[in-house]
Amino acid sequence: MHVSDEPQVRALGARTPRGASPPVTGSETILLVEDDPEVRRVTAMVLRRCGYAVLEAEAGSQALALCAGQEGSIHLLVTDLAMPHMNGLELVERLRRLAPAVKALCVSGYLDEAELDELSLQFDAEPPVSGVAFLPKPFLPDELARRVRQVLDGETEIGDGCVEVSTTQFKRCDVVRATGRIDSHNAPRLADAFNAIINANRFKIVFDMEAVEYISSAGLRAMIDTQKTCKRWTRGELLLAGMPAHIRETMDLVGFVPLFRCFDNVTTAVASF
């Protein structure tokens, strides 16, 4: 196994697009776990040259101890896949008990090209552990830098807290459906969906809340802003449909219930326009 510190030609296919590259530097903290000291030294050097703070460990147990004693956040784990005592995927799972939001990039060698391609495809399609990316060895420094930045910037979903927002246009109104948790991270997506309808001069909107797990104050603000805009000059209204009981309790708690008409389901809400 080696990390190439010299320019090399290697068939990398679509995994390493050439040409104009986005910035590949950063200032995040990376935990690097590699049992080969020379590979670890060169990998750490490449990452530090990119601006990252790098914590080094030669084994999973040492990585866990480093994480437990770390005052600040660890943003990314870069780990060898095949290591004695604790492999890379086991390490990801155990590390996430200490730092559940940590992103992970597994690197591995000792495989032929066909096996590497198969492993890469498998990670892309369905990672064996949620939110883990893969980079085959050997890799060039710029390949490592690019992949690290890609994983750090990626919307890798860990856990089941994702939200989906979709809009369906009907003759009389538009229906916005959201699923999952609406928090400060994804409330802008809900606001964008409402604003897109308003910007099209359509002001009759049904918000289908049946599959919303919870909605935080950021989401509530998006709803109240939309209601204010829609009701101006009595040109329309934001109606709520299928609201779960616990969300209705939250709405009641903050005095929002009198500001919205609520319906049991989307059909009756749409029909009310």
Partner: protein
């Protein structure tokens, strides 16, 4: 999940102080709330209160994303769930946050202060502390409802 009886559990985790950490933080406390045997409506209350608390930390204590971390600790015991959130941001004074406007007409409705208001009403107890050494520490408690069986 079966409610705990004599079980005591505690766990801690650190998260980057940014909004895309909220999902993982809420997953973390949801696991704790279920372990504590809270009713589903109380699990929801914990989720929302922690979401609001972490949003406040990012927006007000740190003044933006990626400027510090959030350390979340939970303790489960017979009485229920205690969650502690620590940050190294500027001191947070809850008294400086005005009560939200809950009764005015739609066009006059102000939207500030909802987060803190929700935290106070969703949890059984919340306490804010600040020390120069430890930074901000927010302790939130949700008690398990006694079974009537």
């Amino acid at each position: 999940m079966r409610p705990c009886s004599d079980l005591c559990a505690d766990q801690a985790a650190a998260f980057p102080g940014r909004f895309d950490s909220l999902s993982a933080i809420v997953d973390f406390v949801t696991q704790a709330a279920r372990l504590a045997g809270l009713e589903s409506s109380d699990v929801h209350a914990v989720q929302l209160a922690v979401d609001e608390a972490c949003t406040n930390i990012i927006e007000h204590a740190y003044g933006g994303e990626d400027l510090g971390s959030i350390r979340c600790t939970y303790t489960v015991d017979r009485s229920g769930l205690t969650i502690t959130l620590c940050d190294r941001g500027i001191p947070f004074d809850p008294a400086s946050v005005p009560d939200p406007d809950l009764h005015s007409q739609l066009e006059c409705r102000q939207e500030g202060g909802l987060g803190l208001y929700l935290m106070r009403h969703l949890m059984d107890e919340i306490r804010f502390q600040f020390s120069p050494d430890q930074g901000n520490t927010l302790t939130m408690i949700k008690r398990r409802k006694l079974s009537t069986d």
